[in-house]
Every structure is written in structure tokens, then in C-alpha cells.
């Protein structure tokens, strides 16, 4: 029920900014509003007993930030670390409280201003990706950019559940 509303919203604000990045061969976008910055990969401390998608934690200027392997989260093979691997720092709201997450990405492209018209609603299938993760799909010349719904993809409650699941 969310998706149509979203498209409507997108339409209303005719232009919206996204940060585009790629995981494997796919290109994704995430609303700029939720991204804080992009940093190079490094200094990750693994957290014991964590599921695969929780790569670990990093010390981001004195702030301990959990890092999530988006690929795993999206049901793809885990990202292998390369020179260009980087971490996208995103800020999420949870129960009125803000918290920070890091996302592993193979590489980051740019900040894109996407015209609402260029955004199609998420296809019911085909994106081999949970539909509710998708905000929409933007056409960029030849290629498509999957615009992720961070709130869903990185829903703290869900993540926490997954973690819980790990324990028992």
C-alpha cells in the first residue's frame, strides 16, 4: 500500500535527489535525505554472533556505527572487499530517535537529481528483490536505477528481529 503513495509523493516533488551506488552489477539509489556521507571502507570490527548482513561496527569519529552488507540484506551474495569498496553512512529514524547505519557498497557514483517522471513504480516482480524495499525504478539513459526505500530496507525493527532470530 505504500508504493503508490510514494509515487504520488515523488510526483508532487517533481525532482528528488538520490545517491547512486552499485552493488555487484546493479545500480541503486537512495534518497539523499537519509544519507549523511560516504567513506572509504576500513577499520571494521566484527561483532560476535551477528548474522551475515551485519558486517560489524566502525568507529566514525568517536561514534560506533554498525555496518550492514546491503548485498546480503537484498539477498545477493555478500560484497567482497575491493579498493573501491566504500561505506555509505545513512541516518535513520527509529521511534523518534535518530541512529546511524553504515552500508557496504561496491562503489558510489553520484548524487542524482531524478525527475519524478523518470521514476516508474516498483514492478511486482522481476527485480528479484522484496517489492516493499523498492521506492521506484529510475531510468538513466540505458540503465535502470533501483531506488531503495531505506526505511524499509533498513527498518531497525526488522533488522533487530533478524538478529534475534540469529540467537535462537
Amino acid at each position: 500500500m505504500k508504493t503508490p503513495a510514494q509515487t504520488v509523493e515523488v510526483n508532487s516533488a517533481s525532482k528528488q535527489q538520490f545517491l547512486t551506488f552499485c552493488i555487484g552489477s546493479e545500480k541503486f539509489g537512495m534518497a539523499l535525505a537519509q544519507t549523511r556521507e560516504v567513506i572509504e571502507y576500513g577499520g571494521i570490527t566484527q561483532v560476535p554472533l551477528m548474522p551475515a548482513f551485519l558486517t560489524g561496527v566502525i568507529n566514525l569519529r568517536g561514534e560506533v556505527v554498525p555496518v550492514i552488507d546491503l548485498a546480503v540484506r537484498l539477498g545477493r551474495p555478500p560484497i567482497e572487499i575491493r579498493r573501491r569498496t566504500c561505506i555509505i553512512i545513512v541516518e535513520m529514524q527509529h521511534e523518534g530517535q535518530q541512529f546511524t547505519l553504515g552500508l557496504l557498497a561496491d562503489s558510489v557514483y553520484e548524487v542524482l537529481e531524478i525527475d519524478a517522471d523518470a521514476v516508474d513504480p516498483a514492478p511486482a516482480f522481476g527485480a528479484n528483490l522484496r517489492a516493499d524495499f523498492i521506492l521506484g525504478i529510475a531510468r538513466q539513459g540505458e540503465e535502470f536505477i533501483v531506488l531503495l526505500d531505506a526505511d524499509r530496507t533498513l527498518s531497525l525493527r526488522e533488522l533487530a528481529k533478524l538478529v534475534e532470530a540469529e540467537f535462537d
Binding site: 577499520g43 570490527t45 566484527q46 561483532v47 560476535p48 554472533l49 551477528m50 551485519l54 561496527v57 566502525i58 568507529n59 569519529r61 568517536g62 561514534e63 560506533v64 556505527v65 554498525p66 550492514i68 527509529h94 541512529f99 546511524t100 547505519l101 531497525l156 533488522l159 533487530a160 528481529k161 538478529v163 534475534e164 540467537f167
Partner: protein, 718 residues
């Protein structure tokens, strides 16, 4: 607003707080003969006096006028011409409030509004019965003057070479005689040798009684040329001592013992330096300055104590409100600093430049200090907060005509300033509720055969990465039935369903839920407990309530050590850093050297069986394994367990960072922390760990029993 008045304001606030505390102490009932009583009374008096004085400086006439009376009154109390009574105390408390109000008024408006002044006058009126007829009784100025009677007692042992150095001791004595009246002079010839007496050595000593309006430093000047090898002790006359006492106790500004003593003239700068110097040398090291001074006969114990007392007042009274965010950012910056410092270390380690290395080293030292300082900045003892409740309890109790004693425990439990602030309101609610609903009326108590005086106990303690605050009353406890009914009325519970007492009690925290019939001004509106709950949860804490009908209620607020600084014990297992809360560490052992139970996963520790867990296995850590395993024996409550790790790094103070909620409840790990080098360490949640250990133990023993049957010896050696 310019700085001096700023300081005046903060100071007067402190002083008022002091006064209030003092009054409450008095109310608690002190034997008017006891020194403590005197102490307290003096305290209050001095507070008033100082406020008056400094107010005068800023021309806050109203304050001066008002305070003057109060001061006089206190003076009388001090002399004992006026006895303390509950009523008087009540009034005085109001007075202190009024003074605060006045001060604030001045700060805002720069003048005292009529209404306030009126109130003040009324207050003063109500004070009159106690006031002595001659309002100008002992003017505080009297204190400052030095009484003539009594004399300084100077004992003087000059160095052997005094004469050779061309000093004539008589000259010194003459100088003294010039200063004041030489009451007595005793020549001490004990050291005069009979044999091989060298007439050019000086063996004599003098004990001189010198009377006159003198300052110690004046006297000391007499010895300016000989002091280096002379032993000189200057004991002030009785009066001067008392006067010094007062001076010290009414010390302003100075917060360091030495400074206080010096500028009050109890000791001289030189004595202070000498003492400080002594403090540096190894065997007197760590000896408090006061002791040394007393040992050197520089001053009397009494004075030092007074100064210390004063110092304590100050330090506890001194609080500057700083936005926690600023502190946070500071801490973060310092974290960065530390990390960068580490990087610098790495970079410079290549170079063999001596100076560079030294510079880096000192930088390291400084950074550490800065970090610790910053971290400490944020920590504060909960005592301050607790003390507020004295007043609240008192007022509320009086209002409700209940007799209630507030017992405080673990006042020096440190927790994060920001939390302290956020904690005040909920605690207030809880306490009020306790007084209002918890503690029964005298009659009721009498009936139920309890002591008439109800008790509310506030206690705080650290509990493995948590700060626990308990509010316990010996009141009637929660009427579970009534709550049940109410709940059903409000449709919070379905009738006819069986609920555990605990579940029911939790309803207390439900918004808009109150069992009180009559709505008092402070409770029963149903606001409160839910607010409490929310506030606590904002702090990522949990609030829990336990109650026994007729026996009282215990409300436990358990807060994570968010941003709290704990003393941790730094260990490493399979390359991952961990921190065991120092409080829980019992001892460390070499894993291979302790006796382990065949097959099972327990060690024998002085006859006691202690289960152990391999942290690496428990947390499924992948990483190189050290053969030289170590054991950290931890204790929580009376539970014991041993944790097997690879490396012991030792103690360190760490800032606890909350784990992102993403991790949910991560078993065995209470939080994480940044190490100096920027790496992240996990703080072990000892209670959970122990639980796991014991559980693990059980299921392991089962396995290992099997394994043992398969290949016996190798098993217990992993």
C-alpha cells in the same frame, strides 16, 4: 551580564543550597552541644554573611538588608542565645528561598520588584520573635579584628652555621621584640655540647612568646635570612586560631586547600611550598597536603580540617551547567584526537629523531590526560540529585502531615551528567508518589504496628554496565486488588483473566492511571508514573516495580551505563577486544596452570568449583588462537564464573557507548567502547556471561561426558 556578578550569582546559589542543606541537617535534629551542630550553624551563618557581603559589593541593597537580619539571627543561634526549632528552620528555609528569589530578580531586572520586597518584610516580621532586641548584636566585622590578648608561640632552632653566616640570633630576637611584645623567651641549651664545643657553631634554640596584632607572615619575615637551615614553628595564639578558622570557613574563590590556608594566613606561602615539595618526595608521597602541614607544625589539624570541610562544600557546591551535547562533541573530538595521536605514533615510530619522539611521547601523555579529564567532566555523583529530595521529602511530608525519613545510599555513584538531569523529574515523581501513596498516615502506621516515622530509601549503585537506582518505601505497598479493579474499569485488563501480581503492578506505569481518590497537588492526577516510564525509557533504561502489600514498594530504575565511564579490565580474545567491568573482576589466572575438572568445563579455585567459558567459543570468534590462555574470574552477586581469553591488557577507564539498537539484545555484551587507538572494544555483560557460562557448563558437561568416553585426556585441554 558581566562576569563578576555571574560568579556572584553562582556562588550565592551554592551558598543558599548550602544553607538549605544545613537547615535540613538541623531539622534532622542535632544535639545542640555537638560539634557538628556548631559546624552546621556556623556554615549557615557564614553562608548568610558571605551572601550579604558579596551582595553589598554589587549594591544589591535589598539582599543585603534582608540577609543582614538573617545573619544576625544565625549569629544569635551560634552564640546559643536563640534555640533552633522546627518552626524557625521552616522560616529560615523560606528566607533562603526568598534570598534566591531576590538574587534572581536582580539578575533579571537589576532591581528588586515590590512584591518580593513585601514578602521579604513579612518574612522578617515573622522572624522578629527570635531576633534579639538590639538587632545590631554581634556585627560580623568583629570577627575580622585580631584580639590583642594571647600571644604567638614561636619556637626557633637555628642552623649550626648561623653565626658563621654572619647572623646574630639576638638580632632576630630584637626584630621580634620590635614587632610586638616579647612575652617570654626561653633559651634552649640542650644541644650545647660539653666536649668539643665549637663556639662558632650555634647550638642554642629559642622559644619565644610574642604578643601583638600580628600576621603569621609578619613574624616569618623575621626569619627570612635563616629559614633555610632553621626549624621554625609559629603557633598562632588561641584567638587567632579561632579567627583563622572563621576566615577559612568563609573562604571564597579559592578551592585548593593550600591556597585557602595561605590566604587565610593560617600558613605562609613558604610553608605551603615546603609542604608541596615534600609531597613530591617518595616516602611522603600520596600523603595529603594537610597531614604534611600538620606534621610540619605549620598549622593545627583543626584548621586543616576546617579548610578541608570548606573545600568539600565548595567542590560539591560547584556546578556549572553545561549542555551535555557540548560535552559529547568534546568527547568525540577527543576520541578523534586520540586516534590521530595513535596515527602520529605510527608515523613517527619510523623516525629516530630524539626530539620528535619525545614530543610525540609528551603529546601522548597529554592526550591521555585530556581524555580522562573530558570523560570525568561528564561524570557526576548522583548525590547532588539525591540531596534535593531531602527538601522535597521534608516539604511534602510536612504538607501531608507525615513523618518521613529519607535515607540516602551510594550518593557517590557516578553517572552521566545528562542522565542525572533527565533523571531528576522521574525520580521526583516516584518519591512524591512514595510519600503520597506509599507511606501511610501516622495513625495507619500505628495500627499496622510500624514505626511512626516512615522511611524512604534512595540508593544507587553500578551493576555490571548498569546504573541501578532504587526507591524503596516501607509504606503500604500497592493495593493490587484496587489496581486490578481500576484497570478493569479502564478496560486495561479483561475481567476474569488471571494476571500475575507483577503484571498488574506494571499498570502503575500506564498513562493516566491513578489509584488515588483525592487529587493532591502533587500526585494522584495519574500523570507521573507514565512520565517516569517514558523518561527512563528515553534513557534506554527500564523501570520496574515490586510491591508487597503492607510492606512497601521498591521501584528499580535500571539505566544502561550510557556514556558512563567505567573502570574496565581490557582483555582480548581471538583478536577482538573486550572490556570486563573492573568491579566484577575477582582475579586473573593462567588457564593452563589452574586445575580443571576432567571433561567438565569448571575449574577448581581454592576448593570452589567455578564454571568457565571460552569467550572465543561462546561468541564464535574467528581469529588466531593463543595457546597461552588466560582466565578472568568474574563475580556478580554471589555468582562466579571464569572467562577464558587470550590476552590480558590490564585496567583502563573507558567511555561506554551504547550498542546500536540494530544489535537488539546482544548476549553477553553490554555495550562497546572506543580504545585509545580508535579500535572498538565490547563491554562484557557479566551477569549474562555468567548465566551463559553456567548454562553452557550444564550442556557441556553432558557432551564432554560423551567425549571423555571417546578420547579422555585431550578433551579438557582445549
Amino acid at each position: 551580564m558581566d562576569i563578576p556578578i555571574e560568579t556572584f550569582v553562582t556562588e550565592s546559589r551554592e551558598l543558599l543550597a548550602l544553607m538549605e542543606a544545613g537547615l535540613l541537617k538541623l531539622e534532622a535534629g542535632l544535639d545542640s552541644a555537638s560539634s557538628e551542630y556548631q559546624e552546621v550553624v556556623n556554615e549557615i551563618f557564614r553562608a548568610a554573611h558571605t551572601i550579604k557581603g558579596s551582595a553589598g559589593l554589587f549594591g544589591l541593597d535589598a539582599v543585603v538588608a534582608f540577609t543582614h537580619t538573617v545573619e544576625n539571627l544565625m549569629d544569635c543561634v551560634r552564640e546559643g542565645s536563640v534555640g533552633i526549632s522546627a518552626e524557625l528552620i521552616g522560616l529560615l528555609l523560606q528566607c533562603s528561598d526568598h534570598m534566591a528569589a531576590l538574587v534572581d530578580a536582580y539578575i533579571q531586572t537589576g532591581s528588586a520588584p515590590e512584591t518580593l520586597v513585601k514578602n521579604g518584610e513579612q518574612l522578617l516580621m515573622s522572624l522578629t520573635p527570635w531576633l534579639p532586641r538590639a538587632a545590631e548584636a554581634a556585627s560580623p566585622q568583629a570577627v575580622e579584628e585580631v584580639s590583642e590578648s594571647g600571644c604567638w608561640h614561636i619556637s626557633l632552632r637555628l642552623g649550626r652555621d648561623t653565626l658563621r653566616n654572619g647572623m646574630d640570633p639576638l638580632a632576630i630576637l630584637r626584630y621580634l621584640a620590635g614587632l610586638g611584645e616579647l612575652r617570654y623567651c626561653e633559651v634552649i641549651d640542650d644541644d650545647l655540647p660539653l666536649e668539643d664545643f665549637d663556639p662558632e657553631n650555634f647550638y642554642l634554640g629559642f622559644v619565644v612568646g610574642l604578643a601583638g596584632p600580628l600576621k603569621k607572615s609578619d613574624i616569618e619575615d623575621a626569619f627570612v635570612f635563616v629559614r633555610d637551615e632553621a626549624e621554625i614553628s609559629i603557633v598562632p595564639p588561641q584567638e587567632t586560631r579561632e579567627q583563622l578558622l572563621r576566615l577559612i570557613q568563609s573562604q571564597q574563590g579559592k578551592s585548593r586547600l593550600g591556597e585557602m590556608l595561605v590566604c587565610s594566613g593560617a600558613i605562609t606561602q613558604r610553608e605551603l611550598e615546603a609542604a608541596l615539595h615534600q609531597q613530591k618526595d617518595p616516602e611522603t608521597l600520596k600523603k595529603p597536603l594537610g597531614e604534611i602541614l600538620v606534621a610540619n607544625k605549620s598549622t593545627s589539624e583543626q584548621l586543616v580540617d576546617a579548610a578541608l570541610a570548606r573545600q568539600r562544600q565548595k567542590n560539591s557546591a560547584r556546578m556549572i551547567r553545561v549542555d551535555a551535547e557540548r560535552l559529547d562533541s568534546l568527547i568525540n573530538l577527543i576520541g578523534e584526537l586520540v586516534i590521530n595521536r595513535q596515527r602520529v605514533d605510527l608515523l613517527t615510530s619510523g623516525y629516530v629523531d630524539q626530539d620528535l619522539q619525545e614530543a610525540v611521547a609528551s603529546l601522548a601523555g597529554l592526550t591521555e590526560q585530556v581524555r580522562d579529564a573530558a570523560l570525568n567532566l561528564r561524570m557526576v555523583a548522583i548525590g547532588e540529585t539525591f540531596h534535593r529530595f531531602k527538601r522535597i521529602v521534608r516539604d511534602t511530608a510536612q504538607e501531608l502531615g507525615k513523618d518521613i525519613e529519607l535515607v540516602l545510599q551510594g550518593e557517590d555513584t557516578e553517572l552521566d551528567r545528562s542522565m542525572v538531569e533527565k533523571l531528576t523529574d522521574p525520580l521526583t515523581h516516584i518519591v512524591r508518589n512514595a510519600i503520597d501513596h506509599g507511606i501511610e498516615s501516622r495513625e495507619r502506621r500505628a495500627e499496622s504496628g510500624k514505626p511512626l516515622r516512615g522511611t524512604i530509601k534512595l540508593s544507587a549503585y553500578h551493576d555490571a554496565g548498569n546504573v541501578v537506582i532504587e526507591i524503596q518505601d516501607d509504606g503500604g505497598g500497592i493495593n493490587t486488588e484496587r489496581v486490578r479493579e481500576r484497570a478493569i474499569e479502564k478496560g486495561l485488563l479483561e475481567a476474569g483473566v488471571e494476571y500475575s501480581e507483577h503484571q498488574i503492578h506494571q499498570l502503575i506505569f500506564h498513562p493516566g492511571f491513578s489509584t488515588a481518590e483525592k487529587i493532591t497537588n502533587m500526585s494522584g492526577r495519574g500523570v507521573g508514573m507514565d512520565v517516569v516510564k517514558r523518561n527512563v525509557e528515553d534513557l534506554q533504561g527500564v523501570v520496574d516495580i515490586k510491591s508487597h502489600r503492607g510492606q512497601g514498594t521498591l521501584i528499580t530504575v535500571r539505566l544502561p551505563l550510557t556514556l558512563a565511564i567505567i573502570d574496565g579490565f581490557h582483555v582480548n580474545s581471538a583478536g577482538t577486544h573486550f572490556i570486563v567491568p573492573q568491579a566484577t573482576v575477582v582475579e586473573c589466572l593462567d588457564f593452563n596452570s589452574v586445575r580443571r575438572l576432567e571433561g567438565g568445563s569448571s575449574i577448581q579455585l581454592r576448593g570452589e568449583l567455578v564454571p568457565y567459558v571460552h569467550l572465543q567459543e561462546l561468541l564464535e570468534l574467528s581469529g588466531q588462537v593463543n595457546q597461552q590462555k588466560k582466565l578472568v574470574v568474574v563475580q556478580f552477586g554471589d555468582e562466579r564464573a571464569a572467562v577464558v581469553v587470550d590476552e590480558l591488557y590490564g585496567e583502563l577507564q573507558t567511555v561506554v557507548k551504547p550498542l546500536s539498537p540494530v544489535f537488539g539484545t546482544l548476549k553477553g555484551i553490554g555495550g562497546c567502547s572506543l580504545l585509545g587507538n580508535g579500535e572498538i572494544a565490547f563491554i562484557l555483560d557479566v551477569p549474562q556471561l555468567i548465566a551463559l557460562a553456567t548454562a553452557d557448563e550444564v550442556h557441556r558437561t553432558a557432551n564432554s561426558a560423551l567425549m571423555a568416553r571417546r578420547h579422555a585426556p585431550s578433551d579438557h585441554l582445549h
